[in-house]
Amino acid sequence: MANLTDVFRALNDLETDGVIQKYAIAGAMAFLFYTEPVRTYDLDVFIFLPPQEGPLISMEPLYSELRRHGYAFDAEHVLMYQTPVQFLPAYNSLAEESVDHAIVHDYDGVEVRVISAEHLVALALQTGGRHRMIRAEALLESNILDQEKLDAILAAHNIRPIE
């Protein structure tokens, strides 16, 4: 049976092969690297795509490459080793910064890029949503955050901190 390292290796390979420029694990799976486990049924991955011509970003080059690798699709998810992975092009300046400043973690001997705890809190505050806010609060209570770094991110992106 496959394991999560296979998925992370596949993501690293996509980056090495230039199919994506850079990636970072986001969403609930990213929180898991810093807080207690929470249940999720998908793996969100923020990405930078290689430069494209035209004003619209197309996911098609990435999807064709994934099809070529034999991965199946289910709605907007790519099933990598039966794990539903959702690729999301970094959609604004905070998401771009989150990918750029992602932290390289070691997962069972495999390097994996994960959005930093401070950027996860900023993204949760910017995007909102009950689940995200609960996870952000868990991080805020965890004492692992660099408060100065978080304050700088929130100020740079005009995000109101939690009162």
Binding site: M1, A2, N3, L4, D6, V7, L32, F33, Y34, T35, E36, P37, V38, R39, T40, Y41, D42, D74, A75, H77, L79, Y81, Q82, T83, P84, H105, Y107, D108, A138, E141, S142
Partner: protein, 68 residues
């Protein structure tokens, strides 16, 4: 003028339970990554029948058939 809301004091026993829960959550957060993934996969399996009964799951929302 705002009305003063009288807060019910937390009983010492409840406070002790809350404190113990905080410690438990902190311990969970400090588990090795692979163990946290194992717990997450178990949560997927445990919650799935309940979520199916509630309905509204999307096609990809199911336990992952992988090892941690």
């Amino acid at each position: 003028m705002d009305e003063m809301v009288e807060q019910t004091p937390i009983q010492p026993e409840a406070e002790r339970i809350f404190a113990a829960k905080r410690v438990w959550h902190q311990k969970q957060a400090k588990l090795p990554l692979k163990e946290k993934v194992r717990i997450m996969l178990q949560m997927q399996r445990d919650d799935y029948p309940i979520l199916v009964r509630r309905g509204g799951l999307r096609s990809w929302e199911k336990p992952w058939n992988i090892e941690p």
